[in-house]
Amino acid sequence: MNAAIIFGLLLALMLTGMPISISLGLTVLTFLFTMTEVPIEAVALKLFTGIEKFEIMAIPFFILAGNFLTHGGVARRMINFATSMVGHWHGGLGLAGVVGCALFAAVSGSSPATVVAIGSIVLPAMVRQGFPRQFGAGVITTSGALGILIPPSIVMVMYAVATSGSQQSASVGQLFIAGVVPGLILAFLLGLTTWYRAWKNGYPRLPKASLAERFRTFREAIWGLLLIIIVIGGIYSGIFTPTEAAAMSAVYAFIVAVFVYKDMPLKGVPNVLLSSANMSAMLLYIITNAVLFSFVLTSENIPQAIADWIVAQGLGVIAFLLVTNVLLLAAGNFMEPSSIVLIMAPILFPVAIKLGIDPVHFGIMMVVNMEVGMCHPPVGLNLYVASGITKMGITELTVAVWPWLLTMLLFLVAVTYIPALSLWLPRMLGVM
């Protein structure tokens, strides 16, 4: 009964269009004032302690690093490198865009940031080369989604935070390592789709780059590529915790952008700091209120009750995963990934654990799901960023992305039902 009231209230408040953080907070306050004995003072403390975890601090650091990289010419050099490697195949620049997105995704934790960084360079270049605009927009919108699957990933940190109450929760490090293989496979599949469509339609290719050219572009891109080693290598070898790795990458990205590539003037730094702080604070505010919300849910035993109920329905693993996917895909029509993960994960996670689903596998599945949600209207962030870059309307873009979106959906099914895709690497490396 309480569960119905809480969720009903939350849904009603959210639909009025107020910020998600506020609707979460107001739901909690209303509930606490009217229906329970939980001391209201606990709320104030929770508002502070909710984000008092060192892991959460990885989010602002990764956002800061991402902003320095987007402004700092790292993306352009990565694209040059990718172009010299794959530009001579069918789909030329389009393929280079996919590879560029995959490389940039490995240094940035956000999908829209990847679309901005890679798309703003590749898309105009593709149009100049004679590709239809739709083709380029489709490639970049969907490949940009790799940003949250290939580590580092802000959404994975959110998942780790949202489920950290449970004993069996997945750590940020485990999720990062688990994202590598699915990320590479998805990049390959998107590349394959691009290649096939380009081959069928006879889109332009580039002349094959010489070995010297490849080496030159590699040397230019090396500063950005090294960051991949710092983050993944650092976390895997235990040199850094994920949060420390995020802070290191922010400082490193700053040095590369300002002093090595010199693409960003020093006086631009305060603005990058301010806009990163703005975005981080928004996400941290949602986290604060989501923590409050799941605190109330837990104190009312709601996630456990839902878990028991679902298990009692005799829903098997396969059916549960199907329902979860449908639910998450539906949520992807209304909310952005961080909010979905923060609200849904604490509810779905106990069920998954009860059914014996691996927490890391479940996390990767959620992330892939979020990727799909980012690429279709009405709220797909990648789509809107791409629309901003290409000046194409959303409807036109929606049509443009479907071949890649279909690939992604098939990939989602694979990730959902083949746990080995996400679990093989972390098991082999012994991190779980």
Binding site: M14, L15, T16, G17, M18, P19, I20, S21, I22, S23, G25, L26, E41, V43, A44, F48, I51, E52, K53, F54, I56, M57, P60, F61, H71, R76, S110, A113, V116, G119, S120, I121, E244, A247, V251, M264, P265, K267, G268, V269, N271, L273, L274, S275, A277, N278, A281, M282, L284, Y285, F334, M335, E336, S339, L381, Y384, V385, G388, G393, I394
Partner: protein
């Protein structure tokens, strides 16, 4: 004048906090590994960085509280606006005002709860674990940040009621990065993906005059911010 000062103070504070926190963690990690180097060991091993993590967390909590208030002013907070963006502008305006006032109500209540809480803590001798700062000073972020946010919500409501305009950060003109206009990337790089014409934010009335709210989504998003 006073408002301008407050705006500026808010911006400087959060930009400083995120930058400083990054440097502190960087220094702490660098110190941890540099103390393993024999030559440096004697000089720096006795430096104590155990407080770094705690300080970083507190800085970020403060940044989160004040940044959230700044976020109201820049209109960055995301919501579920798919439904209300399909309403005609008069009704949409009512929902927007309701949402803004709800924000003011929530932050006002939380601010009061927080002030109460800080008052009680101040009676005790509680200090933080590593820095040993009095806890009430650290928790002060809740009431001050929340009241500031409440004020920002009211400010935005007032502006919207008068002009039909919601705040939007104009990222096309970030100061300091302007000289590089030759770079074709510059414009697109300043896109802030939480502040676009998506359905995560309400469409305001000044820029989306009634008429055909239904078709908005199909139009190219050119310069209408």
């Amino acid at each position: 004048m006073l408002l301008k000062l407050l705006d500026r103070l808010e911006e400087v504070l959060i930009a400083f906090l995120i930058g400083a926190a990054t440097l502190i963690i960087f220094a702490a990690v660098a110190h941890r590994y540099a103390s393993g180097v024999p030559v440096l060991q004697d000089y720096i091993l006795h430096w104590n960085f155990s407080w770094a993590q705690e300080l970083c967390i507190y800085m970020f909590v403060w940044m989160a509280k004040f940044g959230a208030a700044y976020g109201v002013r820049t209109g960055i907070h995301v919501g579920v606006d798919v439904v209300i963006n399909r309403l005609e502008s008069r009704n949409r305006g009512k929902f927007i005002i309701f949402g803004l006032l709800a924000g003011a109500l929530f932050t006002g209540v939380v601010g009061t709860l927080g002030a109460n809480f800080v008052w009680h803590i101040a009676q005790t001798e509680q200090t933080s674990a590593d820095l040993e700062w009095p806890m009430w000073m650290i928790y002060l972020a809740i009431p001050v940040g929340s009241y500031l946010m409440c004020f920002r919500f009211l400010q935005v409501t007032w502006l919207f009621a008068r002009t039909g305009e919601l705040p939007h950060h104009d990222h096309g003109h970030v100061e300091g990065l302007e000289e590089d206009l030759t770079d074709p990337q510059r414009e697109a790089q300043d896109v802030n993906w939480y502040e676009m014409d998506d359905n995560l934010h309400p469409h305001d009335i000044a820029h989306h005059e009634g008429g055909k709210p239904r078709n908005r989504i199909n139009e190219p998003k050119e310069n209408d911010r």
